[in-house]
């Protein structure tokens, strides 16, 4: 039965807080999904006019192009410190940092932990895809044991390079953070769950409750050398065994 155009209802569209600039992400990468979720939540909470996003160094370096809000491009690893400075300068702003695992959990370790420990009233999105995507797939602090990367061609050897770092669990040990959660985007259910977590994290900031960290397990089909569907399956079946999903802290 054909349905007339007049009777069609638009149920899904581009969030206003997402620009129409083309993503530079590879097919099957979850960065685009998370970017869209954040933009959608900014719309839902009607905070676009007071939001400042902090763009990192790495695959998400162009985040300032995709969000239709004010943005600051930070040095590698410093997004949480830049976010701290911006939020302190004007506490009425809603400030979020968008950081990859190399950015957040390696070069920015000190800035990440101390922003959390000060209980900065900011929201941090930590995209964990276990690899340095932008520079060509090198080992990340989050890379799995035996994971082959361009700098661990024989697989990550703990004797040489240590173990996958569960950074969110470290943050969860601190007294200040109000919300620490690990989410994934490999299927519809996870995407809906992750959207709720993103919304909760922003809501806590709006309510001036303090620091929130939303870790998101993401795929990197290009550097994992996997088809997007296989990459989704890998997150669901392997990555989540090292990085279990769920809330680590919710003091809201």
């Amino acid at each position: 039965m054909p349905v007339s155009v007049e009777k069609m209802v638009k149920v899904f569209g581009r969030p206003k807080s997402l620009t129409d600039a083309r993503f530079t992400y590879c097919p099957g990468c979850h960065h685009g999904t998370l970017t869209r979720i954040i933009a959608q939540v900014i719309d839902e909470l009607e905070i676009a006019e007071r939001t400042v996003g902090i763009a990192p160094v790495g695959c998400a370096v162009f985040a300032y192009r995709w969000f239709h809000c004010d943005a600051i491009q930070a040095a590698h690893g410093r997004a949480s410190a830049v976010a701290s400075g911006a939020k302190r300068a004007d506490p009425n702003l809603i400030v979020f940092a968008y950081q990859g695992d190399g950015d957040f959990a390696s070069i920015g370790t000190a800035e990440s932990i101390h922003a959390a420990n000060r209980g900065e009233n900011i929201t941090v999105f930590f995209v964990n895809n276990q690899v340095y995507g932008m520079t060509g797939g090198e080992m990340a602090p989050t890379s799995l044991i035996a994971q082959k990367t361009s700098t661990t061609p024989e697989g990550r050897d703990p004797a040489l390079s240590g173990y996958p770092i569960r950074f969110s669990e470290m943050i969860a040990q601190l007294d200040a953070p109000v919300y620490v959660t690990r989410q994934a985007l490999y299927d519809t259910k996870r995407i809906l769950e992750a959207t709720k977590a993103v919304k909760k994290a922003f809501a806590y900031q709006l309510e001036e409750k303090g620091y929130s960290l939303v870790e998101v397990l993401a795929t990197c089909p290009t550097n994992w050398r996997m088809a997007p569907t296989d990459a989704n399956k890998h997150v669901a079946e392997v990555v989540t065994t090292v990085y279990p999903l769920g809330d680590l802290v919710d003091r809201g």
Partner: protein, 351 residues
């Protein structure tokens, strides 16, 4: 006005920053600038302003970057090793056209060095310091009251040119106490607007603060704009001071603490019949090449005296360009030259 207090250089810089409307201050403890940090810790929160003791100098300058993006007056302070850690952030501030004030109370280096006064960060401060084609305006006070005046000026210049400005002091200036008449507080509400700041995109297109563009042609234009601003700063903001140069045969070129000592040496030399003058750069970048060039036409010798192995000496020789002799006397590692030791150097070259 009229408030006359006995204060350390570090405290005067802190108090002047507060009076200049510094809204956010971020720093990490290091000798010999700790009193600056402590003064801010005591006074900023009560004024409803932000003081954060950062986890590192890297974090401190990154917080400055965030606060400067939002458009408030912001400052950090440190000493030599900490300033080295801040170079990343200073390069980003310059590349992103952000105003901020950075105080370097220099100590002996390289490496951990010591905690005594030195001037061995001159090249780092004046030639860029971090990566990329940039400069920071560098102001060099030589007395405690001047440290306060130049701190006020630093905030104005930073805002006017959207550039980081460095106060280059040293451990002697930071620790020394002098009577100071503190400047009047600035009316922050009356300062010029910053329409570029990331204050929330309400009724306007989003503002983006960045030093980044992958297109070399675009980055070239960003660099060109930066260089044009530097030419403007060089044309308008050179500051220097000459003492007893009218009839001088020989002048000392010195800045900061050494210039202050050299002022005594001028009196001592003149008492001995030596026509000695003093040329004191106040802006180390932009360097007062032209005034020194003019002066070098009238004197036989320009003796550079520094607490370094000859860093400003390079700029002196560029300015003088063999129109006069350019000997050098430097003390290293945190040793402060005495008036007597400088006078004996003057006498070597005055004959």
């Amino acid at each position: 006005m009229g408030e006359r207090l006995l204060l350390r250089g570090n405290e005067v810089i802190a108090e002047a920053a507060i009076r200049a409307g510094c809204q956010c201050y971020f720093a990490y403890p290091i000798t010999p600038q700790a009193e600056l940090l402590e003064h801010m810790a005591r006074h900023m929160p009560g004024l409803g302003r932000t003081f954060i003791q950062a986890e590192s100098e890297i974090a401190a300058i990154s917080m400055v970057y965030g606060a400067a993006s939002v458009g408030v007056r912001t400052m950090t302070s440190s000493s030599s090793p900490g300033i080295s850690l801040m170079q990343e952030g200073i390069s980003y501030l310059a590349g992103s056209d952000l105003p901020a004030v950075i105080v370097n109370v220099m100590r002996g280096g390289p490496g951990l060095g010591d905690i005594a006064p030195a001037q061995a960060d001159y090249l780092q401060a004046t030639k860029g310091g971090g990566h990329g084609d940039y400069h920071t305006i560098v102001l060099a006070p030589s007395t405690v009251p001047e440290a306060g005046e130049l701190t006020m000026l630093a905030f104005d210049l930073a805002d006017r040119y959207r550039t980081p400005v460095m106060i280059l002091a040293d451990g002697m200036l930071g620790q020394m106490m002098e009577p100071v008449e503190l400047p009047e507080p600035v009316d922050v509400a009356a300062l010029p607007e910053k329409p570029w700041a990331t204050t929330g995109a309400k009724n306007r297109d989003p503002n983006v603060i960045r030093s980044f563009d992958l297109d070399p042609e675009v980055l070239k234009q960003m660099n060109r704009a930066l260089q044009e601003r530097y030419r403007e700063i060089e044309a308008k903001e050179v500051r220097c001071e000459e003492t007893a140069t009218e009839d001088a045969d020989i002048v000392i070129a010195a800045y900061g603490t050494v210039a202050r000592i050299a002022r005594s040496v001028v009196r001592m030399a003149r008492a001995d019949g030596i026509k000695l003058g003093l040329f004191r750069p106040i802006t180390l970048w932009p360097y007062p090449y032209q005034p020194l060039r003019e002066l070098s036409k009238r004197v036989r010798t320009v003796l550079t005296v520094e607490m370094s192995a000859g860093q400003m000496w390079e700029d002196v020789r560029l300015a003088v360009c063999e129109r006069a002799k350019t000997p050098f006397y430097g003390e290293l590692g945190g040793v402060v030259p005495t008036p007597r030791s400088i006078l004996s150097e003057v006498k070597k070259h005055a004959g």
